[in-house]
Symmetry: C2
Subunit: 230 residues, 2 copies
Amino acid sequence: MTVWDRPEPPTRPAPLDRERIVAAAIALADEGGLEAVSLRKVAARLDVGPMRLYGYISTKEELFDLMVDEVHAEILPEEPLGDWREVLRVRAHRTRQATLRHEWLADLLGGRPTLGPNALAVTEATLAALDGLADLDTVMRAVETVGAYFTGAIRREIANLRAERATGLSKRDWQRASGPHVMRMLATGRFPALAKAVHDGTEVDAEASFATGLDWVLDAVAAKLARPPA
Amino acid sequence: MTVWDRPEPPTRPAPLDRERIVAAAIALADEGGLEAVSLRKVAARLDVGPMRLYGYISTKEELFDLMVDEVHAEILPEEPLGDWREVLRVRAHRTRQATLRHEWLADLLGGRPTLGPNALAVTEATLAALDGLADLDTVMRAVETVGAYFTGAIRREIANLRAERATGLSKRDWQRASGPHVMRMLATGRFPALAKAVHDGTEVDAEASFATGLDWVLDAVAAKLARPPA
DNA sequence: ATTTTTCTGAGACACTGTATCGCAACAGTA
DNA sequence: TACTGTTGCGATACAGTGTCTCAGAAAAAT
């Protein structure tokens, strides 16, 4: 009975779990954007047949949900924080940073309810920080308002960033020269205020403007938390 | 030379322009969501070969851009408005209403810079309303902050609405019973604040909560416009 | 050792966005 | 009026996509 007489052991299928699948999908998305994520490519990256994935997820949307929740693990701060304001601000900034690391997150942010364990943990931490500072409705309004702000702001920032990258121009130059189109539009004289804004506007740091807008919204929340609602 | 001797005149291709294309695409999207919009279906609706469209747009993304700009025509109010606060509030509410009419807009909002003529007109009107009330940087921050808020809020509202529709439950019941999943998570005791919120939370009207959050943000803007920046 | 159950992956299906390119209808010229 | 150059249309093709079905192989149970 030499080695050659014995057949090769049957090729065991590559081990698999959701963690591995999500990691592969995130890697693909980080490299080529959300559109680079196809079930076939994810499967190929794991040396697995495409249909194998359907044992772990039942739809591509679910894969996206898992990806989003996975990133929320990066958003949840490891150590407890100070007052409610810091909690909200840190959450906003960490979400922004995570989105800069995983730009595809901008395409998914706010697109569907996030009910994964990590996302729930983030929400829990936020609510806990505001607990007792006002009645529940006010607290919810505060959390949602801040969330709406940073979701929208991050999406716009990434959208602009992509546009800049596509033309290879800075934001300001891009506005100035984004195709002849905008210039021509401005030249028509139909948009005087806009023209002035484009002409006189200084190029502002994206992070600074994000932070400033956030502070404004936090100020508003502070005002409402201060005195109980009518 | 009877009629039957003469051949039919050659079938002239159906007349076409961007307006028609965009209208067909919007109709499809209104009926079946963004994913129901395919170049083939748009073309079929216009009795036209799919490739014909490429004379008017050069990519599907461009079609989406045209659709978004078309809806912005509904957002621009026809008559001039009062003070800056009313202008911003009306813009937010009209954007929300337009998105409720065209839910697919939620998927596109904030996803890419909007440079079409109608979107520019909306921006122009907004900037004009704030012109002179503060230095340009502050004005821009105000417009962008409010825009970020309502963009994010609208997206989340539509996301929740779709989730409710998928389960056929009200928002509150949905949170309570969205699969066993959330309930099981809450039952673990790891999310006390969240559990309390779900348990004690009253069902709030979506429009009211949108309006309230908007007012908060507008209050914040008002505070910054009042006194010139440091 | 044999049966039952589970799981896997090859292939197929109905689509998608887009490139290519032959053909037909038009405009301009002789 | 005949011809030719140009344009623009659309059939066909290509390389993908998400997902279904199902024959067969491996694992578990008997």
